[in-house]
Symmetry: C2
């Protein structure tokens, strides 16, 4: 078992900087596209053998130091009682978005070991096959709430902010149900064998720092506190974090994942010496020549050195347009440039 | 003439904090929608009488302390030789996006007083009618380049970054032509009477700080330097600025416009005491009750106090869904809460 990733998460000395890539199981890999040819996206998420297969692909192909469960952040939302559909063109769509007390009350807190049994099943299958640690995950509460209120992706998040600002009862009721769901969901992944869990706050960056502190962060803290004795460290990824780091620092997570729109040196200073940091190469930087990429990777590694620990990653998910060999080159570069002695 | 806005821009003492609203001439106003009923968007931009009419509407209706020329950031791009179309649904579309040397070479640097004569004409018409200062504007070079390379809006800006990273010749050739165009365009607006000009860098926030410093900021500096002796202060608005402020500080502009995803107190600290700051209420905060809005406005006013000067604004354009009376309430609140003595 390669435990470099877990050591870095604990702030221990490692032989090199571990690296994994957000959305590493994905369309940029021809092996993934081959699996997807025979099956739609949601079926892939819900079929343990196939989900495990694509989760392992990037470990074999790229040589990353951790695997992540293949799934979608909206899977538990569907189990809460919303109808979920995916289209290639428009992304996810949830019908009957939650904008009223009546719809909120119809939502349930699912039992993950029953309603979402395919997820712990996938985790167990993966654990029996993997030689690297496994990351479980969930969407963070604010991010899940945006999808549930908007009914999909959004540009201005007007419906979300309308509820947030104008109807505190619905907002906190929704966030309570989401928190209970996410906590139980992550706990079931940990119980099934996930070594680490990551909370994805993909949309936290659309909030002002003041609103983030008021409407999003408290629920993240609650979940992380609940999971304190479950034995798996938490990575809290915040997309668009540059203006939020002072608050993100207090989340209680063992590690913070940051996007590329903030300087790694500044992030380390703001998150402090007791935080492990994950990130933060621009996903588009994988378009660079290997020489230019080398400079960017070295810069991030150098700037992350004062942190308690560093896990290299992109600042957001890898794009379908990136050649797989460039992703492999990144993993090699990180290992090569960070090797000690 | 109400010169509070100009005084604040010079860092002089004012009786209250001046306020204007980005996209204040827009669809949230029924008076604007009435004008738009008879004419499409581009024709409105290009008809001085109508453009002047909608520019003045928010001054009369909301009581803002400055007017801004009604136009679109892609107007000079069309004059450079690209075909521009607008659809309600998909926004702007530019045909034959610039991704080759051949297409780059076909672009011209237009003569604004000839090819874009309707713009200085609108400025002159406005100046003869306005009792508040007039802001002229242009898109900033990086932002214009994204539209020209993507052919419209984008999610990941992959084409832009591809050129930026892989073809320095095309990138710098394009940025040179854009800089020459923007400089001449803003100069023609100033000559026609614009009191102030604003550069909109709506997409700068998709760059890492390192890339911003390398691929975007130098061109902004060049334009601001060129305009140094033209007699109008420059406001440089950077959307998604939280991670870029240390660099934005060096732009040479008299004022920096900031979005809402950064704390005003932090922005003031990072931009330093010699910078006038414009911003930075979340456009969605106009959904708040007047009491809750009061708290947010007061917080921003308080935190902006140590800056050289403060111009209140939203952190981005006002949304079509906002009731006009809420915009008027904001202007009143800013005036009331900032009044001295």
């Amino acid at each position: 078992m390669n435990d470099t990733f877990l050591k870095a998460l604990r702030g221990e000395e490692t032989d090199y900087t571990p690296v994994w890539i957000m959305r590493q199981a994905g369309r940029y890999l021809k092996e993934y596209r081959e699996v997807r040819e025979g099956v739609d996206f949601l079926t892939l998420c819900k079929t343990p053998e196939l989900a495990a297969k694509v989760s392992i692909q990037p470990v074999d192909i790229l040589g990353v130091d951790a695997a992540i469960l293949f799934s979608d952040i909206l899977i538990p939302v569907e189990a809460m009682g919303m109808r979920l559909e995916f289209s290639e063109k428009h992304g996810p769509a949830l019908s009957e978005p939650i904008r009223s007390r009546a719809l909120l009350e119809k939502l349930i807190v699912p039992d993950p070991d029953d309603d979402l049994a395919f997820v712990p099943d996938t985790v167990r299958l993966l654990k029996s096959q993997l030689k690297v640690p496994l990351i479980g995950f969930s969407g963070a509460p604010f991010t899940l709430a945006t999808y549930m209120i908007e009914g999909g992706s959004s540009k201005n998040f007007l419906f979300t902010k309308k509820i947030m600002y104008q109807n505190h009862g619905i907002w906190s009721g929704l966030m309570d149900k989401i928190c209970d769901t996410v906590t139980a969901y992550l706990r079931s992944q940990i119980k099934a064998g996930a070594d680490v869990v990551q909370l994805f706050d993909s949309w936290a960056g659309v909030l002002s720092p003041d609103d983030y502190r008021k409407y999003a962060l408290p629920y993240v803290k609650r979940i992380i506190k609940e999971l304190k004795n479950d034995g798996a460290p938490v990575i809290y990824f915040v997309n668009g974090c540059a203006g939020l780091l002072k608050d993100v620092k207090t989340s209680g997570a063992q590690a913070t994942g940051i996007d590329w729109r903030v300087d790694m040196g500044e992030a380390v200073r703001k998150l402090g010496k007791n935080m492990v940091i994950q990130g933060n190469l621009d996903p588009c930087a994988l378009l660079l020549s290997k020489d230019d990429l080398r400079g960017k990777v070295k810069d991030i590694l150098d700037k992350a050195r004062p942190a308690k620990g560093h896990i290299f990653n992109l600042g957001h998910g890898i794009l379908p347009e990136i050649p797989a060999e460039n992703a492999r080159a990144l993993v090699e570069l990180v290992h090569e440039l960070s090797e000690k002695g």
